[in-house]
């Protein structure tokens, strides 16, 4: 972890505050999420308080602060999906897994991420779990879909 961070910082050696977002993106790409350690080191590198970095990062949906689960559920919140009820789908998944978007379940099996249009608008509302598309999802189907991934684990 340390060395990966150091490499990123090396690439942004004399970075100023406006490099914050690109640095956070690189870290997330490399490690899948922004750990506390990573945020603290970014703060030291750019001389910004961790509270500020956390504030900025939570402003954007793209950043997560926990590692992804074994099954990563991406819920499309693009316009087409929104019109066809993705908000209620998201809520159903959150209730089912007892976690919010951006979080990972305690057993590490599931995580949820909200994403912008994933280019499958014809199939809206769309879920993408571990690379598999689930089309025209309804609240009623959520149980079945989630359980099918849980069962694969056993």
């Amino acid at each position: 972890m340390r060395t990966e961070l150091e490499e990123i910082f090396k690439r942004h050696a004399h970075a100023k505050r406006d490099s914050l977002i690109p640095i956070l993106q690189e870290i997330q790409d490399k490690m899948g999420y922004l750990s506390e350690e990573a945020v603290v080191s970014v703060g030291q590198h750019l001389n910004i308080a961790t509270s500020k970095i956390y504030g900025v990062a939570t402003f954007y949906n793209q950043f997560r602060f926990e590692p992804k689960g074994k099954n990563h559920v991406m819920v499309c919140r693009g316009t087409a999906c929104h019109v066809l009820g993705s908000q209620t789908v998201l809520e159903a998944i959150e209730n089912k897994l007892k976690i919010k978007a951006g979080q990972t379940s305690r057993d590490g099996l599931f995580s949820i991420e909200v994403v912008a249009c994933i280019g499958a608008c014809g199939l809206a509302p769309v879920l993408n779990i571990n690379g598999n598309f689930h089309a025209k999802v309804t609240v009623e189907k959520i149980d079945e879909i989630i359980e099918s991934y849980r069962n694969k684990e056993e």
Binding site: E36, V39, V40, G43, A49, T50, S51, K52, I53, Y54, G55, T58, F59, F65
Partner: protein, 574 residues
Amino acid sequence: MNINIEVNNKLIQAKKGETILTALNREGIHVPTLCYMKDLMPTGACRMCVVEVEKKPNLITACSYPVEEGMKIKTNSPRVVHSRKTIIELLLSNHPDDCLYCERNGNCELQKLSEQYNIRERRISGKKNKYRVDQSSASIFRDPAKCILCGRCIRVCEEIEKVTAIDFVGRGSKTIINSAFNKGLNVSSCVNCGQCIMACPTGALHEISHIDRVEAALNNPEKMVVIQHAPSISVSIAEEFGLKPGADINGVMNAALRKIGFSKVFDTSFSADLTIMEESSELIHRITNNGVLPMFTSCCPGWIKYVEEFRPEFIKNLSTCKSPQQMLGAVIKSYYAEQEKINPENIFSVSIMPCTAKKFECSREEMTNNGIADIDAVLTTRELVKLIKAYGIDINNIEPELADNPLGTRSSAGKIFGNTGGVMEAALRTAYFKLTGEELINYKIDAVRGEESRKEAKIQIGKLEIGVAVVSGLAAADKLLTEIENGRKDIHFIEVMTCPGGCIAGGGQPITHDVKRIKSRIKSLYDIDKTDSIKASHQNPYIKEIYENYLGEPLSHKSHELLHTHYSKRDVLK
């Protein structure tokens, strides 16, 4: 340069470069504000201060918009009033309706605004978010449900204190104010000064109350409950009882505390004198023995935590003296307990402080002696006012009383500790005597008085010239640290207080944004200094007595055991 603007059909003069709000305020024209705070960067976030300007299509925020020649402003047009009303209604739409149970009932800016704009019903009903309160801190309680996101606490914490423990987290309707990773103030870099509480317009921030534990002790027949009050308390509560702001009601307060049931009333200004005896000796010792310089005062727990977290390389520069609160606590449970033949475990020791950080301080491991805490509970000035009211005590009809000796007599040097510069001035008076054997004839040291965030002076003591500096606000302190780091060597002794203006404007004081009140408190302390006959700590007869009977001399073994401590680097989420 002056320019002319027209406000509500009247011509007024404004200064180029200033904001509309500044110009209006000078003319006594009132515009309501929420997110604006004097001396801090305006953000224009709440839009409460909007005014209408001719030829501008949109309403303009007076707090952040500069005046322009010939501007024609309307501060109360129907459009303006309608807009302000809507903002208030929106703020109320997801606000918990529990003013009756709220800490700030009667002293809340949101309450005042809704009264002023005659809001009488809930027209807009918003979704109430569920929030977790943060009560992880030893000093500060945060309730996000009552937060209106004005951002004043964030800016004070960043701009005045350079701590930056909190920020806006999330976005849109889910935005809240929180520490990094929502982890709680206790693991954040928060130094507990409570300046955020002073800034907050609503009941979202207040102290962690110790009233319950004090009452429990008062009702416990096994406990002897004693209390001490800090130098600034007696000049800070008068207005809460309808008396003149800044009036010194020391004697009446002593009497009130006895009526509540405290068996002994001591004065923290006595131990401020004790601090001066120790601290001035430490300074002289460092100067004459090539010790680490400059030396920093250590009375302020906010400052101490800041150094431990952000500037640990300066820990060796901190005086090893405990703060007056902790010194008196230690002396009560040793010297006093032995004298009175009381088991220190049966003493419950309370202090009244203008400060929230003192609650944290009393819980520090370093602040114990053989496993017994020096201080058991800390009440803020605000909590004292509540206690007096709850016990139905009529401040206007009680006779003043003296505090209890041997820990109740002070010099006026100990009293001015409440003001920024006060500790310095008191220390110099005694250092002068110790180094020259003579009393300072002109006891008043003007160079260290005044409310500026930094004051510096060169003081001639006999053959020795001492460079001194006084700073308040941690941003100002940090700046000075950087200068020292970069090689400044002309300063020997530095007083630091976290709260701008000193403890007199501390985070535990009655909440007001009226500078006149703060000024009247400062003046009151200096007036006491003018009229009192004992003006230096070493002249206090009870200080002489405690050294003769118990401590020996300053920096003795006994003093070190009870009155000194040391600090170490602290890891927090910063």
